[in-house]
């Protein structure tokens, strides 16, 4: 079939957003949440993650390659949509456009975040510990940059779960899609709390 590649790309894009990227996001937010128990707890958790065996293999195949594919193909998808919210202001149409906007915001945020932490640590410019994040987040601009970045990431993930369930034929009926909408709102609120709470801890120490 002529269009098989396009089909596989879309399926892969949808799958990678949840497995492994979504799983990684949940893990990442959870480990960071150790910060609320104090710098020692965060440093211990971060050190545990840092010293996982075959760490580079895990990073490349669970984080970087899936993330690169999902983001590059996602930018293409985002820019082939044409917003028509003014004439069709339905809830799902808003979610459709917000999914594309938060996707771009998340890409900008993640690119900066990876540069400032993982790449800086890789080059030896910084050291992975509580004070690295404390140093970044006590600057008001970066605190708000991280708030916007984290919330757009959690929105993109939660709403992405909804469309994942449609795209894989899990939620077919309008009722199951509505139930999934409520479920994704709960997911959004819960993981946004985890992310924002951690940011406040780093920025204000409370």
């Amino acid at each position: 079939m002529a269009g098989t590649r396009g089909y596989v790309n879309r399926r892969l894009h949808s799958l990678l957003g949840v497995v492994p990227i979504g799983i990684f996001l949940l893990q990442h937010l959870t480990v960071n949440f150790f910060a609320t128990r104090g710098p020692e707890a965060f440093n211990a958790a971060a050190h545990f993650m840092e010293s996982l065996p075959y760490r580079y293999v895990l990073e490349i195949f669970i984080i970087f390659l899936p993330l690169l594919f999902h983001s590059i193909y996602g930018v293409y998808i985002a820019f082939t949509a044409k917003s028509n919210l003014s004439n069709f202001g339905y809830f799902r149409n808003w979610m459709f456009m917000l999914q594309r906007i938060t996707g771009i915001l998340t890409l900008i945020f993640v690119a900066w975040h990876v540069w400032e932490t993982r790449i800086a640590i890789g080059f030896g410019w910084a050291e992975l510990n509580y004070s690295l994040m404390e140093g970044i987040l006590t600057e008001p601009f970066f605190f708000w940059f991280y708030i916007v970045g984290v919330v757009s990431t959690t929105f993109h993930f939660a709403n992405g779960l909804w469309s994942f369930c449609v795209s894989w034929g899990i939620t077919v009926s309008p009722r199951s899609q509505l139930v999934m909408t409520y479920a994704s709102i709960v997911v959004f609120v819960a993981i946004s709390y985890i992310g924002v709470r951690t940011l406040i801890q780093f920025a204000y120490g409370i």
Binding site: G3, G169, Q177
Partner: protein, 254 residues
């Protein structure tokens, strides 16, 4: 009712497919129970614009005048719908008429919906029964299923769902909701199901089913109330199963 009551129309006009569009304003005398088409007929009877200047009559497409043919679709006050069932009394004035932007304009409000008919051919939206001999009666269809499938068969290829879709635009070749729903209709027919795999394979690409972004404007806009997004979600399930079946390659095709 005042004798001098008028209705104001602002119509997006285009003299030729290659020329640019312009707006023209019309004031026509009010009559009771008018629809947009009877108002357009009034303009055709007396083609004079609101400035009192004679102009060419506004051109539009129509057929059945009872919302089953789909030919008279246009954008009325920002909403794509059939002009035959757009009642003037229920519309805010000035009434703005424009051609649907998804399709090439042939003239004024008339558009060329060929791409939709090409899509129906592409997805084999029919039941092939021709043979070199009498194939006999086909398998029976359960009445409950027939009633359900009848809803999908109400599609009149009017183009409103394509116009409402944010992913049907000049930057993509997305086939649109209408033809996808027809795949589900003909795949659910007992004889049509003999070509199920073929139809699914046809829509399994980025321009087919995967072009959908789940904005769900189509199901909100469909004048026939067809459960388009349910059809699309069901096709997502069917194509997922189809790809699992042939994940390592397969020569079975049903």
């Amino acid at each position: 009712m005042s004798e001098n009551k008028t209705i104001t129309f602002i119509i997006t006009r285009q003299d030729h497919p290659d020329e640019s569009a312009y707006d023209e304003k019309f004031e026509i005398p009010y009559r009771e129970n008018m629809n947009v088409i009877s108002a357009l007929m009034e303009i055709r009877r007396n083609p004079v614009n609101a400035d009192g200047k004679p102009t060419t009559p506004v051109y539009w497409d129509m057929g059945c005048l009872e919302e089953v043919c789909g030919a008279c679709s246009m954008v009325i006050n920002g909403t794509p719908r059939q002009s035959c069932t757009a009642l003037v009394d229920q519309l805010e004035q000035p009434i703005r008429l424009a051609p649907m932007t998804t399709f090439p304009v042939t003239r004024d409000l008339a558009v060329d919906r060929s791409r939709m008919f090409d899509s129906l051919k592409k997805v084999k939206a029919w039941v092939p029964i021709d043979g070199t001999h009498d194939l006999g009666p086909g398998p029976k269809m359960a009445e409950s299923k027939r009633q359900w499938a009848y809803e999908l068969s109400k599609c009149m290829t009017c183009g409103v769902c394509l116009e409402a879709c944010p992913n049907v635009n000049s930057k993509t070749d997305f086939i649109g909701p209408a033809a996808l729903s027809q795949v589900r209709l003909f795949n659910s027919h007992p004889t049509g199901a003999m070509n199920k795999s073929e139809r699914l394979q046809t829509i399994m690409d980025a321009e087919g089913l995967m072009g959908c972004g789940n904005a769900q404007n189509c199901v909100q806009s469909c004048p026939k109330g067809i459960p388009l997004t349910t059809s699309i979600a069901a096709l997502y399930r069917d194509t997922a199963i189809e790809s699992f079946k042939s994940f390592f390659g397969s020569d079975s095709r049903v």
